[in-house]
């Protein structure tokens, strides 16, 4: 029998597509986009279209397993009861031994962004004060910057970009990472809108823009400030500034005294005349929209960069404009109840903050180092859910050390990931075709329900089901040891997740109405249209007391990014590829064989390396084998590897990554972000043969 079900793609992605699956007698046949959605419009990106292969992949783990020795691959299938028993007994023993539940650590993030996946946090809260990974590896600095400037972190509806006469895509590559924005941009171009793309490299988006402006990595903030100075010099400032902003005189004075356009040109790599032309066009065109990407702020000065761009938007009067503004992301629709066991995540730019005040909070980006440093009591058990830190985190040497020291490691996942290789117990989880869930987007305004279309594959269980069962086992062994529910209905739990505020935003009388179809929240299409801001002053704050309290300059200011050390002179950038999202690769079982390093041909020549030559990039932390590919558009001080997962036998790219953190992040997400674009390497010739590499990730 044919049946259709609605789903939401749960990836950490701008588009958060609405899907409809077709099943025949309980087996998935196909997935397509849900045409009821005005942003994703019934179309899917290539990643979602290989979902069925992923659900039924032979490499998917279908049973709980126990590993005799970590990293040995010596797995044995066990029953759920055995797994739960071992987990619960270990938790209770550690609690007894240390007289505390703090030795238990949870590290979970965005493997699946569904609200019911917060069950893992709620489970740990039910056990007692525990050690938690907090913050975000992604967008923390930018979120703080926007929180400082606007008071809240929100963006216009992505459809609003259609009204812009000028679109600046700044450090964002929607062609590969938010593809549903492309038809909106193309349509605008056909109606005469000018599109300018600022990036460190010629992306697929940049190649389709009217102009591509190549900026030296980490200097975008200075470029924005220099353009702000041009606006001031050429009387292109919004005359209304005194009415809705705070501190603009101070800011103009800063620009006047500290910023020199010619000097900025030298540092940013963008010629002074170009800076002036761009500033004039931006100042004279209304509406003009800036979309600031996440890569921009993955530097040690990332928060300041975003503040400078926000300030530029304000100076030109584009904030609050229909089709204008500085768009970055939002969290307005993430009003979930937190499963009753975590602090609701309202106003927190992080779905997984949900911690108790008594928890021990460790920055997710420095988790290994921080966990190793915990002494009273030490961290003894780690549960990884929706995370693959051994592939995606910094400080892998510290992670390795931590994994070797811990007494007990549980990994719940779909596949035997690089991190799962460290597990003592592996728990198989369900995909979004096998469980109920509730999803919001951080880019568009839609919220929707995910229905199960098929029975769980093998013995896999949802995070919520796992949390119930762990709690049940804990209470069986020691009554009262966990306050998280021990059973329930996924669907009912989901309905309770719709907070009153979310119901209001979605204009719902009763939560059940959400079950019918995805809904668009009732938010103004253009943010800050009234120019009433959520800052303490109620104005756009060029000068912010909040920033000062957090230890930053009151004004958006330029501080340089890190400089490469002499022994590692090349900056390594690792943008997303269109076929993969971090270590979540699509389709499964098609991991590219090795990394390709894109370099300027002249740079390669100076190392005596030909195209296709095997080589190695290295720094003081490690080395990774690469195959060279030439790209004329890459400058000679930058090299690029498009991020994708690596085979377990090969060393992964992140061995090169140190946990430099961004300047900002603590205010809104709880911890600074990861400054991963501040990674430096040297290029080395490699003698001997490297296995043949597949053509493209």
């Amino acid at each position: 029998m044919l049946a259709k079900h609605q789903h939401i793609c749960p990836r950490n992605c701008y588009d958060t597509c609405s899907l409809i699956s077709t099943t025949y007698n309980g087996v998935l046949l196909s997935v397509e986009g849900n045409p009821a959605h005005d942003y994703t419009k019934g179309k899917l990106c290539p990643k979602a279209m290989s979902d069925i292969q992923k659900v039924y992949s032979p490499s998917r783990i279908r049973y709980p397993m126990r590993q005799r020795h970590r990293f040995s691959g010596d797995w044995e299938r066990i029953s759920w009861d055995e797994a739960l028993e071992q987990i619960a007994r270990t938790i209770l023993r550690l609690k007894r031994t240390h007289g505390s539940t703090l030795p238990l650590a949870l590290n979970k993030y965005s493997g699946n962004f569904g609200a019911l996946h917060n069950a893992m946090e709620a489970l740990f809260s039910g056990i007692g004060p525990t050690t938690r990974a907090i913050g975000s590896p992604c967008w923390s600095a930018g979120v703080d910057a926007q929180t400082i400037d606007f008071g809240r972190f929100r963006c216009s509806s992505p459809l609003d970009m259609a009204h812009a006469k000028l679109i600046w895509l700044w450090g964002v590559n929607p062609a590969w990472t938010a593809i549903h924005q492309m038809p909106i941009i193309f349509d605008a171009m056909e109606r005469g809108t000018t599109v300018v793309c600022f990036d460190t490299h010629l992306s697929a988006t940049a190649a389709r823009s009217h102009r591509f402006i190549q900026v030296r990595p980490g200097t975008d903030g200075l470029l924005a400030l220099a353009m702000g100075k041009v606006l001031a010099e050429e009387n292109l400032l919004d005359p209304d500034l005194p009415n809705y902003t705070l501190g603009y005189h101070d800011f103009l004075a800063y620009l006047d005294s500290e910023i020199r356009v010619e000097r900025a040109a030298t540092i940013t790599g963008v010629e002074a005349d170009t800076i002036r032309d761009l500033a004039r066009e931006y100042g004279q065109t209304h509406p003009a929209c800036i979309w600031a990407g996440f890569g921009l702020q993955r530097y040690t000065n990332g928060g300041q960069t975003l503040r400078a761009i926000d300030a530029l938007g304000a100076l030109a009067g584009h904030i609050g404009e229909k089709g204008g503004g500085v768009q970055y992301g939002h969290f307005e629709t993430w009003k979930f109840s937190g499963l009753g066991h975590t602090e609701p995540s309202q106003a927190k730019a992080n779905p997984v903050v949900g911690k108790n005040p008594s928890d021990r909070a460790l920055n997710i980006n420095k988790f290994a180092a921080a966990a190793l440093a915990c002494t009273e009591p030490p961290v003894r058990m780690l549960w990884l859910a929706g995370r693959n830190p051994l592939s995606q985190d910094a400080d892998l040497h510290l992670w390795q050390k931590l994994m070797n020291q811990l007494e007990f490691i549980v990994v719940s996942d779909l596949f035997l990931t690089r991190s799962a290789a460290a597990a003592d117990i592996f728990l198989p989880v369900t995909t979004h075709y096998e469980h109920w869930d509730l999803h919001a987007s951080y880019w568009h305004y839609w919220v929707g329900v995910n229905e199960p279309a098929i029975a769980p594959v093998g013995e896999s269980k949802s995070d919520l089901e796992i949390a119930w069962r762990v709690s049940a086992k804990l209470n069986e062994l020691e009554p009262g040891s966990c306050t998280f529910p021990t059973s329930g209905s996924e669907k009912e739990t989901l309905l309770r997740e719709l907070s009153p505020e979310l119901l209001r935003l979605l204009r719902l009388q009763s939560p059940k109405e959400i079950l019918l179809q995805p809904l668009k929240a009732n938010l103004p299409p253009a943010s800050w249209a009234q120019r009433q801001f959520a800052t303490p002053s109620g104005r756009f704050e060029f000068r912010s007391e909040k920033a000062v309290q957090a230890g930053f300059p009151a004004l958006p200011s330029y501080s340089p990014p890190l400089s490469p050390p002499p022994e590692a002179p090349l900056r390594l950038l690792t943008p997303h590829h269109s076929s993969a999202l971090n270590s979540q690769s699509y389709p499964p079982d098609t991991i590219p064989n090795g990394y390709t390093l894109y370099v300027n041909p002249e740079l390669a020549e100076s190392y005596g390396l030909n195209e296709g030559a095997p080589a190695e990039i290295a720094n003081d932390l490690g080395a990774v084998r690469v195959r060279l590919a030439f790209d004329l558009s890459i400058p000679r001080d930058v090299v690029i590897v498009y991020q994708h997962p690596a085979e377990l036998k090969d060393s992964c790219l992140n061995v090169l990554l140190r946990s430099h953190t961004t300047d900002m992040g603590t205010i809104a997400t709880g911890a600074p972000g990861l400054a991963l674009n501040e990674t430096f390497v040297c290029l080395r010739r490699l003698t001997g043969s490297v296995q043949r590499l597949s053509p493209n990730p």
Binding site: M49, W176, A204, R208, H210, F212, S578, D631
Partner: protein
């Protein structure tokens, strides 16, 4: 033959996401190896500036299909609307069509011992739907069109792109809108 259906591909709008490839795989749940549709990146040395331009190729349902000509079992037929249909039930896996097609679009599936290719979703077309690849293309780069003299006279419509075999071989039913280049202000 009353008409000739084909594809119109805009390299200006195609961002190389391979959604069309995956939509095809999603529609037919095909094995990983044969790629009925494939996205290629244009060689950049053929342009004055790096282009990041792509084109997407499936069976071109040629006016002069070499596959149909060489096939010893008559597995290929050309419909009234110009679609070159490959009947897998008749195929004996001699692979001659894979040697004859300059676009490498009939591909041999080693696991099944037969050749496979795009049949332009004729069963969807017959029900008034678009081919899966066209329906899935988010930026609207891929269209189903009727190949006509008027189409070829339109400004900007190209019969081939650098890197493609000369259309003289098979008279493929695909047209292109070539890449436009924006201004690139690059640093050294």
């Amino acid at each position: 033959m009353s008409k000739q259906l084909g594809f119109l591909h805009s390299s200006e709008k195609c961002v190389g996401c391979r959604g069309c490839e995956m939509a095809c795989k999603n529609e037919y749940q095909t094995d990983a190896a044969p790629r009925w549709r494939q996205v290629f990146q244009l060689h950049e040395e053929r342009y004055s500036l790096p282009t990041r331009m792509f084109f997407s190729i499936a069976c071109n349902h040629c006016a002069n299909p070499q596959c149909l000509k060489v096939c010893p079992v008559g597995a290929y037929t050309k419909r009234d609307d110009g679609i070159v249909v490959h009947n897998r039930d008749r195929c004996i896996g001699c692979r001659l069509c894979t040697m004859a097609c300059p676009y490498d679009r009939p591909q041999f599936n080693h696991a099944k011992g037969k050749v496979e290719k795009c049949n332009l979703c004729y069963q969807r077309l017959d029900q008034g739907e678009k081919p899966a690849c066209v329906a899935a293309c988010i930026p609207g780069a891929l269209e189903l069109v009727e190949i006509t003299a008027e189409l070829d006279q339109k400004l900007g419509v190209l019969k081939t792109l650098p890197g493609l075999p000369t259309p003289a071989l098979t008279n493929p039913s695909i047209r292109f809108i070539g890449p436009k280049q924006g201004k690139q202000i690059r640093r050294d």
